[in-house]
C-alpha cells in the first residue's frame, strides 16, 4: 500500500475522531455509572431509539455472557427506553435529540464514548437487535474468548450479520417483552452470500441473505452489507469508519485468513424481522434518518406491504452455534 494512501487513511481516522469529539457535545448525560468499570471488564456499546420492548432480553443475553457494563446512547426515544435503561445498575446512559444521520448513524457518538470509556477494554458494539454468537458460546463466556484472542495477539473479532426471520408473515407471531426473539424468528438463509474484498480498508464486503434475495433481486449491489466487526480490544485512537462494518486503522479489518485457513469468527444473529419491523420501517421512512437515503427501508416498504414471508423451503432452522459452524457461517479457527 502506497505511503500516500496510508497517510490518507490516517487523516481520515483523525477526521473521524475530531468529528466524534464535535458530535459528543450533542450528548446529554442521563446516568453515569462508568466508575464501576474495572480494568478487565468487557463492555457493550449501543445506540438505539424506541427499543424498549427488546431491552430486557438484550440485557439478559449479554449479561449472561459476561458483559460487565453497558453504555447506551439514546436517540430521543419516546417509549420509555431511556428511563428503563437509567434504572439498570450496570448501564450508563446518554441521550440526544440530534440527528442520527448527521452523526453518521450514531457512530460519531459511539466513537466518542468508546474513546472515553472503551480504551483498553474489549468492547462489544452492537444494535439492540444483534446477538453475538461465537464458538463455544453455550459453554464459555465472552471473557474466555477475549482472553484467548488477547493471548493470540488478535485485536478484533469478525461476525457476519445473519438475518433471522419467522416462518410465515412476520406479523403473525407478535413479540412480547423478555421473550427470546429467536423463538419466533428462528429461520435463516444458509448459503447465498456474496463476498468482495474492499482493498481501501482491507475488509470484506458481504451481501446476500433474505434481504438481497427478496428486496434486491434486480440490483444486488444495493443490498445491505453483512460484514461486521462487533468485538474489538479498543484503543483511544481507533475509530469505526462505517457502522461496525469497518474500522481504522485498517489492520483491524483483517479478520479473515488470506492463505486458505480459517480464523475464528462468530455470527451476529439479527432479530430485525419481528412484528415490530413494519411499524419501524414506516417510521424510519418518514424520518429519513437511515443509510443511503433510507433506500433499504424504501425497498422494504415496497416489498413488505403485503406483510411478506421471508421463509422458503430451503430456509434453515437455527439450532446452535455448531450448526452455524458446520454450515460455514462461522468458524472455530484454532480455538478448541
Amino acid at each position: 500500500m502506497k505511503v500516500v494512501q496510508r497517510y490518507k487513511l490516517r487523516l481520515e481516522r483523525k477526521r473521524f475522531l475530531i468529528r466524534a469529539w464535535r458530535k459528543a457535545r450533542d450528548l446529554l448525560l442521563v446516568a453515569d455509572r462508568t466508575d464501576q468499570i474495572r480494568p478487565n471488564d468487557v463492555l457493550c456499546f449501543v445506540t438505539l431509539r424506541n427499543e424498549r420492548i427488546r431491552l430486557p432480553y438484550f440485557l439478559r443475553y449479554y449479561r449472561d455472557r459476561g458483559v460487565s457494563h453497558f453504555v447506551f446512547v439514546d436517540n430521543d426515544s419516546t417509549d420509555g427506553t431511556r428511563e428503563y435503561l437509567a434504572g439498570q445498575g450496570d448501564c450508563s446512559v446518554w441521550t440526544t435529540p440530534a440527528s442520527y444521520k448527521r452523526s453518521r448513524f450514531g457512530m460519531d457518538w459511539l466513537n466518542a464514548l468508546l474513546r472515553e470509556y472503551g480504551h483498553g477494554h474489549w468492547c462489544v458494539v452492537v444494535d439492540p437487535d444483534e446477538f453475538l454468537v461465537y464458538p463455544f458460546c453455550d459453554t464459555r463466556p465472552i471473557p474466555a474468548l477475549t482472553d484467548w484472542l488477547e493471548s493470540s495477539s488478535i485485536k478484533s473479532f469478525g461476525a457476519m450479520l445473519l438475518d433471522m426471520y419467522p416462518k410465515g408473515p412476520i406479523t403473525t407471531q407478535p413479540y412480547s417483552e423478555g421473550q427470546n426473539p429467536f423463538d419466533i424468528a428462528c429461520w435463516f438463509d444458509s448459503g447465498n452470500y456474496m463476498i468482495k474484498r474492499n482493498w481501501d480498508f482491507g475488509n470484506l464486503w458481504i451481501q446476500g441473505g433474505p434481504r438481497a434475495r427478496l428486496f434486491f433481486p434486480d440490483n444486488p449491489e444495493r443490498a445491505p452489507a453483512l460484514n461486521k466487526i462487533p468485538l474489538v480490544k479498543w484503543d483511544k485512537n481507533y475509530a469505526f469508519a462505517s457502522s461496525t462494518h469497518m474500522l481504522l486503522p485498517r489492520g483491524l479489518n483483517l479478520v479473515f485468513d488470506e492463505w486458505g485457513g480459517e480464523k475464528a469468527s462468530g455470527v451476529l444473529m439479527h432479530a430485525k424481522f419481528l412484528d415490530t419491523f413494519t411499524t419501524k420501517a414506516r417510521e424510519e421512512l418518514q424520518r429519513k434518518q437511515h443509510y443511503a437515503n433510507s433506500h433499504e427501508y424504501k425497498a422494504y416498504a415496497a416489498g413488505l406491504q403485503e406483510d411478506p414471508n421471508l421463509w422458503c423451503k430451503w430456509s434453515e432452522r437455527f439450532i446452535n452455534w455448531r450448526q452455524l459452524e458446520i454450515l460455514g457461517l462461522m468458524s472455530k479457527g484454532n480455538w478448541a
Binding site: 464459555r140 452470500y193 485457513g261
Partner: protein
C-alpha cells in the same frame, strides 16, 4: 513424601494458591516462585493465603520473560530450595500457576514410586524436532539471542539475520548434545541435584543464557549427561498451537481431560470454575494405574490446527477468504458441466437425471434466469434464481451452490448463449469435469424459424464465444478435466462418447451400460444448413466436417423420423 512441586506463577495467583494448597495438604511440599513483576500486595496476599501450610515455601524472585533465561533461573532457584528444604523428596515436579492436577496425588505418588529412577522429561535432538514454531531449531544453540523477542522484535530479527550472514556459530561447551523438549518435567533428586551441583554449571549457564528459549533446552540437554533412565515425555499435558502458545482448557473440556489419564494439565483458564472444583475435590475412584493417554485431546487440537491453517476447501466466509490460488480447492466437491448436449439431444436433462440418479440443472448461467433443476425459484442454501444476483458474483454463486449441496454431485448445462464470465473459473477448478461438443449451438439455429440474416449473425457471435471458452479450456493452466469433441466427431459415435463421460462421473449406476438412449435431434439437412452459412460468408468451423449430403445422417426411411441412437 516422594514428590515435591515447584510452581512458577505470574498471574491468577488465587488459582495457584488453590492448587498449591491441594498438593500441600496431601503431603507434597511445594516451592513457589512468583514473578518479580507481580505487585507487592498480590505477592503478600498469596503468602498469607498459604501461611498456614508449613510445607509451602516461597523462593527468591526473578523477573520473568518468555523465551529468556529468567525462566530457567527461576526454576533453578526454586529447585535448589526444594532439594535443600525437603530432604525426603525423591521426584521434583515442575509446574506452573495455571496447571491443574487431573488425577489424585496418591496415584501420582504410586506411579513415581514404581519408577524411582526414572526422569520424565521430553528430550529430543534438534534434528528430530518438528514442533518448533519459529523455524529456529539448531540455530537456537548456534546463534546468540540477547534481545527480547516480545519487546524488541526488530532488533531480535535483525541480529539473527546479521549472524546468519556473517556465518557466526557458537559451539556447545563440553560437547553437550543439544536437545529440546517441553519445559514441564519431573526429575529425580539424583539427576536434578547433579545438574544443579555440576562443577561446570557456571559455564553451562553462561552458554544457555544466550540460547533462544532456554527453558525448552537447558534441562533437556543436561539431563542427557546424568540420567540413567529417561522417559522422553512430559507428565504434564500441554498442547501448543501453531503460534507456539499453549492451548487453554475450559469447563467443556472436563470429560476429555478426565479420560486423558494425564497427571497434570496446562493451561487452565483461570475462570474455569467447574474444572477447578472437580479436579481439586478428592475423587473416589479406587486406585487406577492407567498410563496417561492424551491421544484424544491430541486429535481435538490437531483438528483445530488444520482448521486454522488449511480450512475447509470450497468454503468462503467472513473469516476465510483466500487469495487467488490459495484456496486448497476452489470448490468443495466434483461437479460436471455439459456444453452442447442439450442442443443435440431432446430432453437431455431429464434423461441424464434418470441415468445418474441425481438432479440435473439446466443452464445455470442463462442470461434470463438461473435454470435450477425443476425450474426452482430458490435452491439449496436459499440461492436465488435472479440473474442479476448471480451475475453480481458468479464465482461465489457457483462455489455456494457446490458447498450447499455437499454430498450430491452437481451437474449443469453450459452454452455459448450463457453468461461467459464463469468460464475462466470453471477451467481453473480441479473439481470441474467439463464436456464440450463444439458447434452444437448450430443445431437449435438450424431448427429455428428465423430469417437467415439473423441466424448468420447469431451463429457468428456464438462461435466466437465458444472459441473463447475452448481456448481457455486448452490453456496449460487449466486444472479441470476437459473433453472436447466437434459436433461431427461426436455424432459419429454418440453413445460411446456419452458412456465415457458417465464412466468418469461414476456414481450409483457406474459400470452399467446405457440402456435407455437419449433421442438425438433430427440432423437431416444440417450439412446443407452449414453450407448455406458458409455461402453467406460465415464459416462454422467448430462443428467439424459435415458433408453436405451425409449418408449417415439421412433419415433411413425417407420420413421425418428422428434419429434414435442405440
Amino acid at each position: 513424601m516422594s514428590v515435591g512441586f515447584v510452581m512458577l506463577c505470574h498471574t491468577a495467583l488465587h488459582r495457584a494458591a488453590q492448587v498449591a494448597r491441594h498438593w500441600a495438604e496431601r503431603d507434597c511440599p511445594v516451592v513457589i516462585h512468583v514473578d518479580q513483576r507481580v505487585s507487592k500486595e498480590a505477592y503478600s496476599g498469596l503468602k498469607s493465603d498459604l501461611s498456614d501450610l508449613p510445607n509451602v515455601k516461597f523462593c527468591g524472585r526473578h523477573k520473568c520473560e518468555w523465551g529468556t533465561w529468567s525462566l530457567v533461573a527461576a526454576s533453578q532457584t526454586a529447585s535448589e530450595m526444594m532439594l535443600a528444604e525437603f530432604p525426603n523428596v525423591r521426584h521434583v515436579f515442575l509446574s506452573s500457576g495455571s496447571c491443574l492436577p487431573l488425577r489424585p496425588v496418591e496415584e501420582l505418588k504410586a506411579y513415581l514410586a514404581a519408577r524411582p529412577r526414572t526422569d520424565f522429561i521430553e528430550s529430543v535432538t534438534t534434528e528430530d524436532v518438528e514442533w518448533t514454531v519459529d523455524g529456529l531449531h539448531a540455530e537456537r544453540f548456534q546463534l546468540r539471542f540477547p534481545f527480547s523477542w516480545k519487546r524488541h522484535r526488530r532488533l531480535f530479527d535483525g541480529y539473527v539475520e546479521l549472524q546468519r550472514k556473517v556465518g557466526f556459530k557458537r559451539t556447545m561447551p563440553d560437547d553437550l548434545v543439544p536437545h529440546l523438549g517441553s519445559q514441564w518435567w519431573c526429575l529425580t533428586r539424583q539427576t536434578l541435584s547433579a545438574i544443579l551441583q555440576d562443577p561446570s554449571r557456571k559455564a553451562y549457564d553462561r552458554f544457555f543464557k544466550l540460547v533462544w528459549i532456554p527453558d525448552e533446552s537447558y534441562y533437556q540437554t543436561l539431563v542427557r549427561k546424568y540420567s540413567t533412565h529417561i522417559e522422553s515425555r512430559s507428565l504434564t499435558l500441554s498442547k501448543f498451537d501453531f503460534q507456539g502458545k499453549p492451548h487453554v482448557f475450559y469447563d467443556d473440556h472436563l470429560h476429555l481431560l478426565r479420560r486423558s489419564d494425564c497427571f497434570v494439565a496446562r493451561k487452565i483458564w483461570h475462570k474455569a470454575d467447574r474444572l477447578y472444583e472437580t479436579f481439586l475435590t478428592d475423587q473416589d475412584r479406587g486406585t487406577v494405574m492407567a498410563e496417561p493417554a492424551p491421544g484424544k485431546i491430541d486429535r481435538v487440537f490437531s483438528k483445530a490446527l488444520e482448521r486454522r491453517t488449511r480450512g475447509r476447501a470450497g468454503m468462503y466466509m467472513h473469516s476465510r477468504f483466500p487469495n487467488p490460488d490459495w484456496e486448497n480447492g476452489k470448490t468443495s466437491a466434483p461437479y460436471s458441466v455439459f456444453q452442447g448436449f442439450n442442443d443435440l439431444f431432446e430432453n437431455f436433462e431429464p434423461w441424464l437425471a434418470r441415468r445418474l440418479g441425481t438432479r440435473v440443472h439446466g443452464n445455470l448461467f442463462d442470461p434470463v434466469r438461473v435454470r435450477f433443476s425443476g425450474d426452482a425459484d430458490v435452491y439449496a442454501g436459499c440461492l436465488s434464481s435472479a440473474a442479476a444476483i448471480r451475475d453480481y458474483d458468479p464465482e461465489h454463486f457457483l462455489t455456494s451452490l457446490i458447498w450447499n449441496t455437499r454430498g450430491e454431485r452437481q451437474v449443469f448445462q453450459f452454452s455459448p448463449r450463457d453468461e461467459q464470465r464463469i468460464g475462466a473459473f470453471l477451467a481453473s477448478d480441479g473439481n470441474a469435469q467439463i464436456s464440450v461438443v463444439t458447434g452444437a449451438w448450430a443445431v437449435p439455429l438450424f431448427n429455428s424459424n428465423q430469417d437467415f440474416h439473423t441466424i448468420r449473425k447469431t451463429a457468428a457471435l456464438l462461435q466466437k464465444q465458444e472459441i473463447d471458452f475452448v481456448n481457455i479450456l486448452r490453456r496449460v493452466q487449466t486444472r479441470a478435466e476437459v473433453k472436447i469433441w466437434s459436433l461431427a466427431e461426436f455424432v459419429e459415435e454418440p453413445m460411446e462418447n456419452l458412456q465415457s463421460i458417465l464412466d468418469a462421473i461414476g456414481g450409483p449406476s457406474s459400470g452399467a451400460r446405457i440402456t435407455e438412449a437419449p433421442r438425438m435431434v433430427d440432423l437431416s439437412g444440417f450439412g446443407q444448413f452449414l453450407q448455406n452459412l458458409k455461402n453467406q460468408g460465415m464459416n462454422p468451423h467448430v462443428t467439424g466436417d459435415f458433408p453436405v449430403n451425409q449418408p449417415g445422417m439421412q433419415p433411413r426411411s425417407g420420413g421425418s423420423r428422428p434419429y434414435l441412437v442405440r
